[in-house]
Symmetry: C2
Subunit: 199 residues, 2 copies
């Protein structure tokens, strides 16, 4: 016996999401059957809206429902700094700290020889155009992830941008706040020692 088709199809749809296997998808599908009709309808509508109403900001590449996005169109933000991230969700993490008030640029990926991602496949060209057009930019802060790919993308960008006389910085590596040295991996410790600061 198979599941009735509507639930089998819903399980298949849930399984397309990352980290959700058959067992979890089945649990979610049966949970959906127990949800109130209006919540399920809202869920379906939200899926549709997220896909149709959102697009990438034509300036920075952030996800937005207006163009330019709220950050790019906010004149009160520091126009002299651009912080470069891999993904739109990184912007949210940085905005939550409420400390940085400059602009952003989203690469939508990193250079990755293993998956064949070259400079043309990520949002680098628009960053360079942006730097040419907006000569008020004095600093590019590279906040790619602390991974080998993130690191090599950062170095690639630094080599491209520094010749134009723009300061290029990279987020600090080190121990996470609240973490134990005992459990820190060797690379993090090396970086934490290298980056030590005078007290």
């Amino acid at each position: 016996m198979q599941y009735p088709e509507p639930i089998a199809k819903l399980i298949d749809s849930y399984m397309k999401l990352p980290g959700i296997g058959e067992k979890t998808a089945t649990r979610l599908a049966f949970f959906t059957l127990d949800m109130p009709q209006d919540e399920v309808d809202e869920f379906a509508q939200d899926l549709h809206d997220a896909k149709t109403k959102l697009h990438f900001c034509s300036i920075c590449g952030n996800i937005t429902d207006q163009d330019p996005c709220v950050i790019c169109s906010d004149p009160s933000r520091d126009q002299t700094r651009i912080l470069v991230v891999e993904q739109p969700k990184d912007i949210m993490a940085l905005e939550r700290m409420n400390e940085y008030h400059g602009l952003y640029h989203v690469l939508h990926g990193v250079l990755s020889p293993t998956t064949g991602k070259g400079p043309e496949d990520i949002n680098i060209k628009s960053l360079l155009t942006r730097l040419q057009q907006h000569t008020e930019v004095k600093e590019v802060i590279i906040a790619t992830n602390a991974t080998p790919e993130g690191e090599s993308t950062a170095m690639y960008l630094a080599r491209l941008i520094k010749p134009a006389g723009i300061k290029v910085t990279r987020l600090a590596y080190g121990l996470a706040v609240g973490s134990d040295i005992e459990y820190a991996d060797a690379m993090t410790l090396i970086k934490a020692v290298e980056g030590r600061q005078e007290m």
Copy 2:
């Protein structure tokens, strides 16, 4: 800065699913944005269909898109046995073993004094009516979960059904196949010893 509304709403919808917190919901929502349009539309449609096209079988309470369900309407199945489960998904687990060819009955819950679920709140009455109408039923196999609530529901049902001269059985307790005695909990070991069988 907040997320644009369409994505914030989608995150909220994902968070209504069991076991999905804000971080996972955010990851799923951003993943959704990267999915092809047709897959997202299909997902939305599947959610809608699952809710509108499925209902409970009027005989056994299983989830179905036809009434009676494929099992109840299959004359080749053994009409003398009814296996009682808590939830429709339990039927799928049992059907996968391809060993049992009788009928089913879904309680849609268990008796639970802590959550105030009494005999009227679960699908017991329809089981008794079914047994009265179909005198060919010779055995009721109770397959509620191996929890205190599942156990007391099984005992409650046995007391109701046995006086009608119908055999009532309960799935065996014991060690899971492939499990280590070392890691079995005390209750399981007690049940495994109690239920030991001659070799």
